[in-house]
Amino acid sequence: MTGQTATAVDPLQTTGRASRVRAPDVREPVLDLAGITKSFGALTALSEAALEVHAGEVLCLLGENGAGKSTLCNLIYGVFRPTGGEMRLGGAAYAPADPKAALEAGVGMVHQHFSVVPSMTVVDNLLLGRSRGILHRRLFAEEIRARAAEFGLEVDPWRVVKDMSVGERQRLEIVKCLMRRPRLLLLDEPTAVLPPEEIGSFLDVCRRIADGGGALILVTHKLAEVAKIADRTAILRAGRIVDTVPMASADMKAIVQAMIGRELGGATVAVGLDLAEHAEAAETDELPASAEASGKIPAATKSRPPDVLQIDALTYRDRNGAVRLDEITVEVRPGKILGIAGVEGNGQSELGLILAGLERPSAGRWFVGDREMTRASPAEITAAGVGIVPEDRHAVGAVVEMSVAENLCLQNLAQYTRFGLVRRGAMTAAAKDLIARYDVRGAGPETRFASLSGGNQQKVVLARELTLDPLVLLVAAQPTRGLDVGAVETVYGHIRSACGRGAGVLLISSELDELIAVSDRIAVIYRGRIVGEMPATQKNREAIGALMSGHAA
């Protein structure tokens, strides 16, 4: 089996990128969807979707959160069954009863969440569900190595998954799919978890698979990836495929419009790396008002009020003793936004956790105003006027199974309590007020937090954190992750307004263009160190990018 593969793929591999520009494929599509509809109770997640995917093609599936991308993938992979419509795979009728049937039919899927068992080795994970009777681990390990090597991937079959990095696990997910030689590979937002430096090589792997004759459906909402990899792009909006465009004729702005169904607002927050470059001129003119008012030059003449946040040589070692933060020193001025730029996994998460009071630094100190917070509990940090928008909205930002009102009031529950009993009425009234002020859509005080869309969830978190009285400092970590374009703008609007009211903001993000658009200054974190700090201007973009990738200034 192993030998056969090598010969089959080699000639194709040499054709490389050249195959990307090719005549329209007239052969039968690998996958053909007609009139696919899926309803969950009263909710129609997908209606009348029609789609074809051909061999050797990367089809990008683009759409806002909740547009039906994941539903479509899950239908093809047999997780759900369609309410109506017809699917054909390789010309034959295709109606997988479960993922197993889909796998047997030659459909593989890389999920948004990892689907490898952390406590097991790579080889056991890949054997899972593919083998019967007695295992031949050694033989299979060789097969894994060989198969991975075909696509330029390196995998150690004997490693235990939980010891692997996020990027390595993602690669393993793909190798796992490739082992079955799928005709069709579904990739559900695979790059969401990848550090930016690994996205490029990941897309190369996708291309190689397509060149080897595979068909790929790649779900994403990052336009830069679409521009780089897609042969065609299908755009989903509110459960319908509103457009399918070949990339040769693609206009990115048109795609964005099709995606969100309206014109973009004036101060375009960067939605994709390439777009940001086009919009450079416009953006620099439209810097946030707060930034303009305060100016980009320190006002040396005025007497200087104390910094709202001072981080002094903060060091953090994780449980294994690895240094995650190495003598971080930064300060945030009142009314200013300091961006922390960096490729993910360079210590930002740890910094966010420490400032939220969820981890304790190993050395160094940090202050809010002149109060030392180094060993403060989350409650004390909140009491000091520090709003926290955590990186992980679901695990840290909210108790997702509780109502919006309960989530809004949880951290100052004492305010809504009399004689130990909760005053529900007061709580509901407060929640109603916040829901209106922060424009949380589709929610009442009793709505379950989990049932809100990502953007509205983030608004609830912001409503809670920004209404601290007084709000001295806001720490926002990856506040726009997973949000659609419209919600991104709203979130930054709220952050700017907090700034306008005099609070300082520490904004941690891996989206450099967003940082440049929103921040006053940007500090770059690399391998747990602050390697440089400079004003947030388009002119500094190159320099910041270089620092992020470890090229010392």
């Binding site: 997780v79 689907s115 899972l128 009777g133």
Partner: protein, 307 residues
């Protein structure tokens, strides 16, 4: 303690440990797959009764053993249907089934044998391993056991092999640690867990038979007397790994045997303390004070599927 009493002590340790070892290694398969059968106690009790009944009806302890295994499996089917198919709370089902087993065996025992019967049934024959069994001192105690003892040991080795070297073993661990991923890999979580529970039932069947037919050759009400829970404690102490679990059973067996070694009056340690030792050790080990033990991530959590 001289050599002779040592030999007796070792034999008696094995004697107490073997039913635990069988029950624990069977239960380990379920727990690896994410199902905690508190009903292990009930399965053993059920089998203890049915093996005696079967032996009494047919006069053949080996057919009695088959009855025991079959009854253990029947009981396990109940557990599997309830906790895996119907996704009922594993703890409640386990406790409920134990109540049921106690009631059912007591009831049947009175109906069939009468309340005060101590009727003995034929026991298993001995197997003398030539050469070894005639060794001085240790020979008779170690190598002159009931044949069923060797069958039991072979079954434990078989379980080790299945868990370690077969696709089913890998599926069990996957289902117990990360059922969603297993499901996505095309593994039927329900099926893997159900089979695991049946294996547990069969092993508990052998263990229960050993306690009744293989030991005192009759049935007494509630005779397992917590052995099922002790087997579960052994798994915890063994850190959900087979050989350490077997080792824990031997340790527990040793503690029980000590109690008979000393008459209550001459005992340097209170017997209660000895009996408590296994549980204390298990408790310390889950606290990480004696080695760090982490249960399978999905233990006791029902799987609701991806649909």
């Amino acid at each position: 303690m001289n050599l002779e009493t040592l030999a007796v002590y070792i034999a008696s340790t094995l004697h107490f440990a073997l039913p635990l070892m069988l029950a624990a290694s069977g239960e380990l398969v379920s727990e690896a797959a994410g199902v905690l059968n508190l009903s292990l106690e009930g399965m053993m009790l059920f089998a203890a009764f049915f093996s005696v009944w079967g032996t009494s009806v047919t006069g053949d302890p080996w057919i009695g053993l088959l009855w025991g295994i079959a009854s253990g499996i029947v009981f396990a089917i109940l557990q599997a249907v309830l906790s895996v198919r119907l996704r009922a709370n594993q703890l409640v089902v386990g406790i409920g089934l134990n109540i049921l087993a106690l009631g059912a065996t007591t009831f049947l025992n009175r109906e069939i044998f009468g309340a005060l019967s101590r009727q003995l049934v034929p026991g298993f024959g001995h197997l003398h391993i030539p050469g070894l069994s005639t060794l001085p001192l240790l020979g008779p105690s170690l190598f002159q056991q009931d044949l069923v003892v060797y069958v039991g040991l072979a079954l434990i080795v078989a379980i080790w092999f299945v868990l370690r070297f077969t696709a089913y073993g890998v599926a069990c661990r996957a289902v117990g640690d990360d059922p969603r991923s297993a499901d996505w890999a095309g593994i039927s979580v329900t099926r893997v867990r159900s089979i695991a529970i049946l294996v547990t039932g069969a092993m508990a069947g052998v263990a229960g038979t050993l306690i009744s037919v293989g030991d005192i050759r009759t049935f007494t009400e509630g005779m397992t007397n917590g052995a099922g829970y002790l087997a579960i404690a052994a798994i915890i102490f063994g850190g959900w790994r087979l050989w350490p679990t077997v080792g824990a059973c031997l340790l527990f067996g040793g503690a029980m045997a000590l109690q008979f070694q000393f008459s209550a009056a001459t005992s340097p340690v209170p017997t209660a303390a000895l009996l408590m030792l296994p549980y204390v050790l298990a408790l310390l080990s889950v606290a990480g004070l004696v080695g760090r033990q982490v249960p399978p991530a999905a233990l006791t959590i029902p799987f609701f599927g991806s649909r």
